[in-house]
């Protein structure tokens, strides 16, 4: 197995190509089978690989061919496999498989069934290339590949303009980050002479000292890429809109895998970041700021998917925090557990939306606990994990992050407190969701509960979300070891208790209504603050006025091609001369005579002024 890891991304890719070419001629069941089985095989192969890796801990490097070779620039189509790759691959193929399976039922009625699976398979392939890439250029291929697949899937229901709008926004906003990242690649190659990640980090350590400016610039550019893809401040605005896509897509791309690519990228190039401590601080600050901003926003949302989207942004903020404080493995660990419980939540919401005929507003749901028990329990477990209630998977990963953040000198306690505030908010909004949707009075009548193709993925993910915290991710070899010291016990107790407080608050406010916040919410301050949070802190509005409209204005201004005006001037000049000259051609003989005489005068004057000898 270890010689042919390139097969793993190839299978979904082939399946995708087949679906694109022959999709319209296949039966629905065949399409579903092809789509699910291809990812399934990849997942199985990954499992085999994992078992092998657990036994021999062997890093695999595999090169298919040299992509291009120009003047010393020779990135290969080559793959690199280690513990970090394994974690990512397991998440992608494992969760991906479950989501594919879920989709077969969810998308059953859609006329573009084949197109859907073609895109989804292609996404899996691109994502696998991203995490398996041995050099940054191939990683960039996967990076852009997942971006395009995300674009295609967000705009999957292209008939609605809003979806296309959201898809374009998603692509262009991430593209801004991608371009910065590309510049980072250019800088790294120009300075280090290679884009091969391992060689590059090695060269960087030899060339640069800690605190040099070039690694800082390179890292900042890479952060831009990561921030765009992972929907962090200030490039996060695309993610909530990206919920326009089908819900399984949101689960796979916009919760479990693609949006965590930024985290993966930073973790993968941590060797560079260790050379630029300032960049790491930037990562941590971006992470915590995003986390809080998104958590506040999630509090106010009414669309079930948007709540989850903001919660995703917030959780990725935690991962960034982890990376920024040097808790690499904790960040990756949280990435994995988050993939489980967030996929679970998204699929759960997908089930609700599916059964309620595309209803997104949580206040129009309610009382679904008894009618959709499978979904209810998934949601309960998912929310518990998201809120990091003790013993769930989210608890272990988030706890690690917060504790390691606390240990950071100077900024540490501040980051820790902010993180705690975020955790409190997380618990409140996640259980607000549960209480509003599943308890209380029923506002709508669901068709039925989910079918088995939806129920199985939900149950498996429930299981993972519960026990995921006990997994040991094999990344010890990849990252530098942390010092292993533990902070004081009270820090740990506080960390554990905060989510419980949050749960209590949510219970009081949204379930038995002991705590009435209507007065607070209806006050002027409360209202404006609420609206402010609802709109995502007005960042969309700001960007719209700061960038989008001016760009449209510029395009409109230039549309009539001002440069052509210069040539128009030349044309006008010629036309004027033409006008004059045709006026001279008046047909009046006396005028001609006069001009002839004038010419004669000029000629004679010239002749007379010529040197003597010419005339004689």
């Amino acid at each position: 197995m270890s010689e042919t890891i390139w097969v793993i991304p190839l299978i979904p890719l082939l399946s995708s190509v087949m679906l694109m070419l022959f999709g319209s001629r296949l039966k629905i069941t065949h399409i579903g089978f092809l789509g699910v089985a291809s990812v399934g095989i990849s997942a199985l192969l990954t499992l085999v690989l994992a078992v092998e890796f657990m036994q021999n801990q062997q890093i695999i490097q595999e090169s298919l061919w040299t992509w291009m070779e120009v003047a010393g620039f020779a990135p290969g189509i080559s793959f690199y496999f280690d513990g970090l790759t394994l974690v990512m691959m397991s998440v992608i193929t494992g969760v991906g498989f479950l989501i594919h399976l879920f989709s077969t039922e969810f998308m059953e009625k859609d006329p573009s069934y084949a197109r859907y699976f073609a895109y989804l398979n292609m996404f899996v392939a691109a994502m696998l290339v991203l995490v398996m890439a041995d050099n940054l250029l191939l990683l960039y291929l996967g990076w852009e590949g997942v971006g395009v697949c995300s674009y295609l899937l967000v705009g999957f229901w292209y008939q609605h303009n809003a979806n296309g709008q959201a898809a374009r926004k998603a692509f262009i906003v991430t593209r801004i980050g991608d371009t910065a990242m590309a510049l980072g690649l250019l800088l790294l190659f120009t300075e280090l002479g290679t884009l091969d990640i391992q060689a590059m980090v090695g060269a960087a350590n030899q060339t640069w000292q800690i605190g040099d400016s070039i690694p800082l610039i390179a890292c900042l550019l890479i952060i831009c890429g990561a921030v765009g893809k992972s929907a962090q401040l200030p490039l996060h605005t695309w993610l909530p809109d990206a919920m326009a896509g089908p819900t399984p897509v949101s689960a796979l791309i916009h919760a479990a895998t693609m949006v965590t690519a930024g985290v993966y990228l930073i973790a993968r190039t941590h060797g560079l970041f260790l050379l630029a401590p300032t960049a790491m601080t930037v990562v941590a600050v971006i992470g915590i700021a995003t986390s809080l901003m998104a958590a506040f926003t999630a509090l106010m949302q009414t669309d079930i998917k948007r709540i989850l989207a903001y919660s995703t942004i917030s959780q990725i903020g935690y991962m960034f925090l982890a990376l920024g404080v040097g808790a690499w493995s904790a960040g990756i660990f949280h990435l994995m557990t988050h993939a489980f419980f967030k996929a679970l939540l998204f699929l759960g919401s997908g089930a609700i939306i599916h059964c309620l005929h595309h209803e997104h507003n949580i206040f129009k749901m309610g009382g679904l606990r008894t009618r959709m028990p499978v979904t209810f329990w998934s949601f309960m477990i998912g929310s518990a994990a998201l809120a990091a209630l003790p013993m769930t998977s989210g608890f272990f990963s988030k706890d690690q992050i917060l504790l390691q953040a606390y240990q950071l000198p100077d900024l540490g306690p501040g980051l820790w407190m902010a993180g705690l505030l975020g955790a409190l908010l997380t618990a409140i909004y996640s259980f607000r969701l549960v209480f509003v949707v599943f308890f209380g009075e029923a506002n709508t009548e669901p068709d039925k509960d989910t079918g088995w193709r939806m129920a199985v993925p939900l149950s498996v993910l429930c299981f993972l979300a519960m026990i995921g915290g006990y997994f040991m991710i094999p990344v010890a070899e990849v990252f530098p070891a942390s010092d292993g010291s533990h902070p004081a016990h009270w820090v740990e107790y506080v960390s554990i208790s905060v989510p419980l407080v949050g749960l209590l608050v949510a219970y009081l406010v949204f379930f038995n209504r002991r705590l009435n916040i209507d007065g607070l919410a209806n006050s002027t301050v409360g209202k404006s603050l609420g609206n402010f949070w609802l709109s995502g802190w007005g960042i969309d509005w700001l960007y719209d006025h700061l960038f989008v409209r001016p760009y449209y204005g510029l395009a409109n201004l230039l549309k009539s091609e001002p440069v052509d005006g210069i040539y128009g001037l030349i044309v006008a000049l010629n036309q004027t001369f033409n006008h004059w000259l045709s006026a001279a051609q008046s047909g009046r003989m006396r005028w001609y005579l006069a001009s002839m005489v004038a010419g004669l005068i000029i000629l004679i004057t010239l002749a007379a002024n010529l040197p003597t000898g010419v005339l004689q």
Binding site: A594, A598, I601, I604, T605, A608, L615
Partner: protein
């Protein structure tokens, strides 16, 4: 001595006659002044020893060509109305500009010929000499002149005939 006096008299006559010819409103009057001018020039020719040229000037220019003008003017029958029209066209405003141009040109010509010195010969260049060089070195020019005259002949015949035909047709159709 006498020639010099005669020359200045002839020159004065030529100039005055030409000016009059150019400013008359009546075509026939102008034409007669023009003939006077040509005759005066013929006198100059004679005085500077070109009797053959003088003869030709009188016979062909003042004779044949001017007669042509007379014929045409008579055919056109311009009358009193034409005179009035001409007078109207000869307002100072109209000829001021051209006059300035002409004067400038004249001044330039005079400056250019200013440094030409020397008298003209009195010994006549005889018709024989002219004839010899005409049919000697200038034979090609004579041929060209012949062609030109032929072309003029054909051209005028063509134009004149069409004039008469048109006249005839129009008269015929109006009847």
């Amino acid at each position: 001595m006498l020639e010099i006096v005669f020359f200045y008299i002839a020159a004065t006559v030529a100039l005055i006659a030409t000016v009059m010819a150019m400013t008359r409103a009546n075509a026939i009057h102008a034409l007669i002044y023009l003939i006077v001018s040509l005759l005066a020039v013929a006198v100059i020719f004679f005085l500077i020893g070109a009797p053959f040229a003088a003869a030709l000037e009188i016979v062909i220019y003042a004779g044949a060509i001017m007669v042509l003008f007379v014929f045409v003017i008579m055919m056109l029958n311009l009358g009193e109305k034409g005179d009035k029209q001409e007078r109207q066209w000869l307002k100072p405003g109209i000829w001021a500009g051209p006059a300035i141009l002409s004067v400038i040109l004249l001044v330039e010509l005079l400056i250019v010929i200013g440094d030409v010195n020397g008298p003209v010969s009195v010994s006549a260049v005889s018709a024989k000499e002219v004839g010899l060089s005409l049919f000697g070195p200038y034979v090609l020019a004579v041929e060209i002149a012949a062609m030109l005259l032929l072309a003029g002949l054909v051209g005028s015949f063509h134009l004149g005939r069409r004039y008469l035909e048109r006249d005839h047709i129009e008269k015929g159709s109006s009847q």
